[in-house]
């Protein structure tokens, strides 16, 4: 048998010639043309619908006068502050809750597994109806006020009448929608940590907190950083929460850069100013994007 195989292989070579070189080694002629043809639809979509609008947007916002106007405007600085608070507080709450819940869902109970399945409902629910419900739940008098009155005998705060409670409502709604997603990612990362490491730490006398600090934190750090960066970038670009949940209330103070940019475009008919509002966030977005791309590339695209 071991002698027959090379003989058979030699006969095949004699009849058909040597097999084509592996794609891993070389790509020539018609195969190269096929490969290019396979990439063309993707490249076309990216160039026509992503990079061209990006360059067009930068060109639209290239007039320095737009930035002079923006920087002199109170509503712009108000939206910058709100965006920073929304992102700064929101990212920390999102990632802390996701880390906590990923530990919770590691517990081996049938009902916790069932909860994990249910936990994806907010993520799968379309964003607009969910955030609309949040808005109506929190308006005064709304469902939360009714509930507060029935259970505690006191009125709830008028959430959209005060800046901090309106901002808190936006962060709560965003957290409600996205924490299940981050939890699943971190849960997968924690499940990939070999059980032996926990057992070795336990034998060495480490308690639960010490195992978390010395085993989970170092091994989950990279994944946690990538998730934090992604969460920051997406919150920075979030339009829906401020538009639907608080609708900018009170008096447009909870508008973020995204809603202000769209407001300039449609309410005030100043598209260039709208793009400039967006572009003004690039000094923050570019370093974040660069770090993110590097991290994702280094990890061969795996989160």
């Amino acid at each position: 048998m071991s002698i027959d195989q090379p003989a058979y292989a030699t006969r095949r070579f004699a009849i058909e010639g040597p097999p084509p070189a592996s794609w891993r080694i070389s790509l020539h002629g018609s195969e190269l043309r096929w490969a290019i043809a396979f990439v063309v639809p993707y490249a076309a979509v990216l160039i026509v619908f992503a990079f061209y609008p990006l360059v067009y947007g930068l060109w639209m916002a290239s007039d320095p006068g737009l930035y002079a106007h923006l920087f002199a405007s109170d509503e712009y600085w108000e939206s910058v502050t709100t965006t920073l608070l929304f992102v700064g507080i929101g990212v920390n709450i999102n990632m802390f809750l996701a880390l906590f819940l990923s530990g919770y869902f590691l517990r081996k109970r049938w009902w916790i597994k069932a909860l994990l399945v249910i936990s994806m409902v907010p993520w799968a629910l379309p964003l607009q109806p969910a955030f609309t419900s949040f808005h109506w739940m929190l308006i005064f008098p709304g469902f939360i006020d009714n509930l507060s009155w029935k259970v505690f005998g006191v009125d709830s705060p008028d959430f959209f009448h005060h800046y901090w409670s309106a901002l808190g409502a936006n962060i709560a709604a965003y957290t409600w929608k996205t924490v299940p997603f981050w939890t699943i990612i971190l849960l997968a990362g924690r499940m990939a940590i070999p059980q032996d490491l926990y057992e070795a730490a336990e034998i060495d006398g480490a308690n639960g907190f010490e195992r978390f600090i010395h085993v989970v934190v170092p091994l989950l750090a990279n994944l946690f950083l990538v998730c934090t960066l992604l969460c920051t970038v997406w919150m920075l670009g979030d339009f829906n929460t401020a538009d639907i949940v608080s609708s900018g209330a009170p008096d447009g103070t909870t508008d973020v850069l995204a809603t202000l940019g769209v407001d300039y475009l449609f309410e005030q008919g100043r598209p260039a100013l709208g793009v400039a509002t967006v572009v003004s966030a690039l000094p923050v977005l570019i370093p974040l994007g660069y770090l993110l791309v590097r991290r994702l590339r280094n990890r061969e695209v795996e989160l």
Partner: protein, 296 residues
């Protein structure tokens, strides 16, 4: 074991059980809080939809005293002028969702095949460009996109929204498909080529069947992106015949006189397809989510 030893061991066991009981109660309490947190907005939607007037919050109820399915009937049988075109609009939403899903799977699978299986030269430039688009928030492109759709002649066309959704779904699809294709031995491609298969045949007969789970994940993801997306639909679609359910819900929302129970009933019906698809394909989705990260 002596009686003395047993008496020493007994309190230790009892203390251990108390610890466990407290721990279990803690887990149950967290579970109960999570359930309340997740379902509060959903409960609120049903509270409004089941109320005959649709405004239970002003009457102080936390459950309507006379719940009725009237609002759902109005949605199903076009019982209100706002909802006359609900099924047509749902059809538009499906059209956008399914076209986005098919195009994302088609474009992503072709590109991932060329990059990961055929090892096209300088493929790093293309995969990096995917990462760059992945890191751009959707709203960043909305104003130039709006202007460009005018010049492309695609304003008020469902395809303008489809292209926007595909643009933001394809980079994720590419990352997932490239990752998943590394799990499939390249020797299968080589064997097919020795048998005389062209690249297109290898793609269609070897690559696509073996990639089915990953394709299901990215297809579901693209459908969810299209269903969740609201800003581009709101800005790019204006005519009556091209409206989607998301736009109608937004119009309801902006009109204070709207019967909110009808609107929320429409929103609940609109929410069912993505939830059904997600739970039908959640095994694939879970694998996809944990490998690439998704725009939530």
């Amino acid at each position: 074991m002596s009686i003395a030893n047993m008496s020493r061991a007994a309190p230790r066991r009892r203390r251990f059980r108390w610890d466990r009981l407290v721990g279990e109660l803690g887990l149950l309490a967290v579970g109960a809080l999570l359930l309340i947190w997740w379902f509060l907005p959903i409960y609120n939607m049903f509270l409004i939809a089941l109320d005959p007037d649709g405004r239970p919050e002003f009457s102080g109820y936390i459950w309507p005293p006379h719940p009725t399915l009237m609002a759902f009937e109005a949605v199903l049988f076009k019982g209100y002028w706002y909802l006359e075109d609900f099924w047509h609009q749902l059809g538009n939403s499906f059209y956008i969702g399914i076209a986005t899903m098919l195009l994302t799977v088609f474009i992503g699978s072709l590109a991932s095949f060329a990059l990961s299986r055929m090892r096209l030269h300088r493929s790093w430039a293309i995969s990096t460009s995917a990462l760059v688009v992945y890191a751009i928030p959707q709203y960043f492109l909305v104003v130039p996109y709006y202007r460009l759709m005018h010049s492309y002649g695609l304003m008020d066309s469902l395809w303008s929204v489809i292209f926007a959704d595909v643009t933001f779904a394809v980079p994720y699809a590419l990352l997932i498909l490239i990752w998943y294709s590394r799990l499939i031995p390249v020797e299968l491609d080589d064997a097919a080529r020795i048998d005389g298969a062209s690249p297109l045949q290898v793609y269609w007969r070897i690559y696509m069947p073996l990639m089915a789970p990953a394709l299901a994940a990215v297809g579901t993801y693209a459908l969810l992106v299209a269903w969740n997306e609201y800003l581009y639909q709101f800005l790019l679609l204006s005519s009556h015949s091209n409206k989607t359910v998301a736009i109608t819900i937004a119009e309801f929302f902006e009109n204070d006189d709207s019967p909110w129970n009808f609107m929320v009933a429409a929103a609940i019906v609109y929410s069912l397809p993505p939830i059904a698809v997600f739970y039908a394909l959640r095994r694939y989705m879970a694998a996809g989510l944990t490998r690439g990260g998704v725009k939530a």
